[in-house]
């Protein structure tokens, strides 16, 4: 990609990322994945990236219409891949993807595919009292958790929201001591035990590799 530098996290949260317009394959994804996808697609000029505002994570009912609109407005790509899991759409995004003939990430959330969807889903029966944060969500904890839940204004509501959770699991995509410290601080603020789990890019890396391979095979 010509310019792999992502905009700031605040911009990714509210505005997302516009595509460059170059490349034959468009990855249309969540702004919370922009940095990871840009890292994985670096040096692949045939892949372009467009991200919708990451804050849609907090409003899953808006994801399908936003994806449909972006796909309708996209122009000149041979293929589009949705870098979204179900993300709380209750199967709505999969139905839209099938209708539009697009592939997407499997599983319920990015938490699942970062950890490996199969293992995550199997573990979820035992681990449903865990609250997950990724690198992006740790950096944007205030914008995605603290402020939307009104905890900045009413910290006494913390236990109403988190009283049934037991631990915060930080799924680390990168080795970053400062981010780990911030994740641990977030766990303390929520009154939860802390666990750090290094995941790397998980299934996202495999999907993007297969996307690269598929487009390379087309070239041949």
């Amino acid at each position: 990609m010509s310019d792999p530098s992502p905009p700031s996290d605040d911009v990714l949260t509210v505005e997302g990322l516009q595509p460059t317009g170059s490349g034959r394959v468009l990855i249309l994804g969540c702004g919370a994945l922009a940095r990871e996808i840009l890292t994985l697609t670096r040096a692949f000029d045939h892949i372009d990236l467009q991200c919708l505002p990451a804050i849609l994570h907090n409003h899953p009912e808006k994801i399908v219409p936003a994806v449909r609109k972006a796909v309708a407005e996209s122009d000149g790509y041979d293929d589009i891949f949705l870098a979204y899991a179900d993300c709380g759409t209750g199967g709505g995004l999969k139905r839209a993807a099938d209708e539009l003939g697009l592939k997407m990430m499997p599983g319920p959330h990015c938490y699942a595919f970062f950890e490996g969807t199969e293992g995550f889903v199997a573990r979820s029966e035992e681990e449903f009292t865990a609250f997950y944060l990724t690198d992006f969500l740790v950096r944007q904890f205030d914008a995605f958790v603290w402020r939307p839940l009104g905890l900045d204004r009413h910290p006494e509501l913390r236990d109403a929201y988190f009283g049934n959770y037991e631990k915060l699991v930080y799924q680390a995509q990168t080795e970053d001591a400062a981010l780990t410290a911030k994740a641990e601080e977030s766990a303390q603020k929520l009154g939860l035990a802390f666990e750090r789990r290094f995941t790397g890019f998980g299934d996202l890396e495999d999907e993007i590799k297969s996307l690269k391979n598929a487009s390379q095979q087309t070239d041949n």
């Binding site: 009104g150 109403a160 929201y161």
Partner: protein, 235 residues
């Protein structure tokens, strides 16, 4: 509705109508101490506990509910209002039991297996109690056995199931199908709710109704109880 001039307001100096209006405002603003004080003032003025509950507290929460539905208030403000209402409810509940306030129906409510998000069902519990229902709230993460046992033990009319996650909401169908297999499905009114649900889902799994919020749950439960009583009277 907050106003600095209200800081000097002496609740006991307001007449009944003004005090009820002030309680509605204080509920809206989530002011626990004020609701506690005003509830006691109305009791001292010999108001019936049932009237305080329905006119002052439930009346105030209805406004909160409507503004939540219209996107004027959000979850944190609704929770603060609910906390304020609870302080009034705590005073009134034992008195309501003593005075034999009317019971409209009995409901078991709980979140489904794998789901720990109980904010919605706790609001429903509070509003249903305020409307005259007796509620057995069985908490979070309930397998079908818990529901069935509680329905029997509590002699319930209504089953309420709640889920916040798209991954857990399909379990509602497991509960309903199990009740069908046991031949007890039609003994209960089944209401479902939770952020990712909709009417279509409620119908698809065989529930009697989907309730999008606590106020709708109250209205729907009342309607079904009226129908049930009419059927019993006719039969």
């Amino acid at each position: 509705m907050s106003d600095e001039a209200e800081d000097d307001l002496i609740l006991s100096e307001l007449d009944d109508e003004e005090l009820v209006q002030q309680m509605h405002d204080d509920l809206y603003d989530g002011l626990k101490d004020e609701i506690f004080e005003a509830t006691n003032i109305l009791l001292e003025r010999k108001w019936e506990p049932y009237n305080i509950l329905t006119i002052a507290l439930v009346g105030g929460m209805k406004i909160v509910g409507e503004d939540f539905r219209d996107g004027i208030l959000f979850v944190p403000e609704v929770l603060m209002a609910a906390e304020a209402m609870k302080t009034g409810m705590r005073i009134l509940k034992p008195l309501l039991a003593e005075t034999g306030a009317p019971t409209i129906g009995r409901m078991v409510i709980g979140t489904v297996k794998g789901d720990i998000h109980d904010i919605g069902q706790n609001l429903v519990t509070m509003m249903m109690e305020g409307a005259g229902f007796e509620i057995m709230n069985i908490g979070i993460n309930n397998p079908v056995e818990n529901y069935v046992e509680a329905l029997k033990e509590f002699d319930a009319d209504i089953l309420g199931m709640s889920a916040l996650l798209t991954t857990t909401m399909p379990y509602m169908k497991v509960v309903i199908d199990t009740m069908k297999d046991m031949g007890i499905r039609d003994d209960y009114i089944i209401l479902v709710g939770g952020a990712p649900l909709n009417e279509e889902f409620g119908k698809a799994i065989g529930a009697d109704a989907y309730c999008r919020d606590a106020a709708v749950a109250v209205d729907t439960a009342k309607e079904f109880m009226t129908r049930k009583h009419n059927q019993m009277a006719a039969g």
